[in-house]
Assembly symmetry: C2
Homo-oligomer: 226 residues x 2
């Protein structure tokens, strides 16, 4: 590459994350409200520019921490968005990430230098007009999440440490927008040998308490679930 060729100048690299969690048996995505130009007061996905001494995953986790205070979420790149006009300021290529985190003990920073607020949104309540091309990125991420949740066991990072089978089923139903038969779902999931019954039960529910399960320690993510 001829570094002086103007065709190569003024290009930047962003990382952008669609971070999902489950709160109150609902799947939610994290958005930040911008303070500055461009797109002042618009909601956006947590994002930022990559330093020249870090790889993209490191950059994504750093940006996530700086913009939201969130640490230790699972992130995985899913697509590069490279329309030359996607930012009105300068040519920025965005490496899109899917992030997954469980909502236990989760504190998020509400305000940073560049954002005035950070909130979890139900998927059905994500604003239409996100900043930049973030709506497109959100929709692509959601599509990817639907594939990932049936082809891998990322769901383990979405749930709290202990969860009930009905909660697990609800996650699949919300993300895939589809109902499952309770008996078949349990049978299927249990025979995957990914989770184990802790013997503990939920309490104060006004009905028969469900058993609490947890994921077994397994590092691999390549598991066909449906």
């Amino acid at each position: 590459m001829d570094i002086n060729n103007p065709l190569y100048r003024n290009q930047g690299i962003h990382v952008v994350c669609a971070l999902f969690t489950v709160k109150d048996s609902e799947v939610k995505i994290l958005l930040a409200k911008r303070s500055n130009n461009p797109y002042p007061d618009k909601w956006m996905l947590p994002s930022g520019a990559v330093y020249n001494n870090e790889d993209c995953e490191t950059a994504m986790k750093r940006e996530m921490l700086e913009k939201t205070g969130i640490t230790n979420c699972y992130v995985e790149q899913f697509h590069v968005f490279s329309n030359p006009k996607r930012s009105p300021v300068m040519r920025m290529i965005a490496v899109g990430y899917i992030g997954i985190i469980n909502s236990e003990n989760l504190r998020i920073k509400k305000k940073t230098e560049k954002t005035q607020d950070v909130e979890w949104f139900k998927l059905s309540e994500v604003p239409e007009d996100l900043a930049y091309d973030h709506r497109e990125i959100f929709l692509y991420a959601l599509k990817t999440l639907k594939v990932k949740i049936i082809r891998t066991n990322i769901v383990k990072d979405l749930l709290p440490q202990y969860f009930t089978l009905p909660e697990l089923q609800k996650v699949y139903e919300v993300i895939l927008n589809k109902k499952f038969d309770r008996r078949n779902f349990r049978k299927k999931f249990l025979q995957l040998d990914l989770i184990e019954n802790t013997g503990m039960q939920e309490e104060n529910k006004g009905h028969k308490p469900a058993n609490l399960y947890k994921f077994k320690q397994r590092e691999d993510y390549d598991v066909d679930i449906f």
Copy 2:
């Protein structure tokens, strides 16, 4: 992004393609032999820098044309390689593409300004020491190809217009490194309704001639094959 922050300076964006085809019932990948520094005389994947006025897919197709003379191949991004040290010259992020082309009527340029040769390599004969991190990219692309060939119908771009069922089966066997039962393979593939018998047959084979099939006109790539 503060454009004057030195942390953001001197970063470039590459596209890199692992282009696969089938020739003589073997899956092959296209490599180019470098002329210049760095890595003189090493083989590499077709690649090049993205202009600031084009998206990555456009850049990939342009580079493929410039470096190899190949036009109209199917390309699809699969992973971003962003180790800050992946190039000894400067920080370059690479958007990795899988390319698929059928080898009919295919002319490749043997020599360009920066390459002294371009050749198709059997997967088992790809040199160990490719330039840059291209061996890592090749292996990741191959892993992705194995998934794509069972989850999508990209195989249609890998084969010539007319092909026999045994040829099709061989492609799956070579890529997945696995034998299939002939009867079950035919039954399975035919019921997917992706291909149709042309009524024509191959000739001069010294054995019973196989029927020639072709893919039906379908644009979608989301088809579970195995």
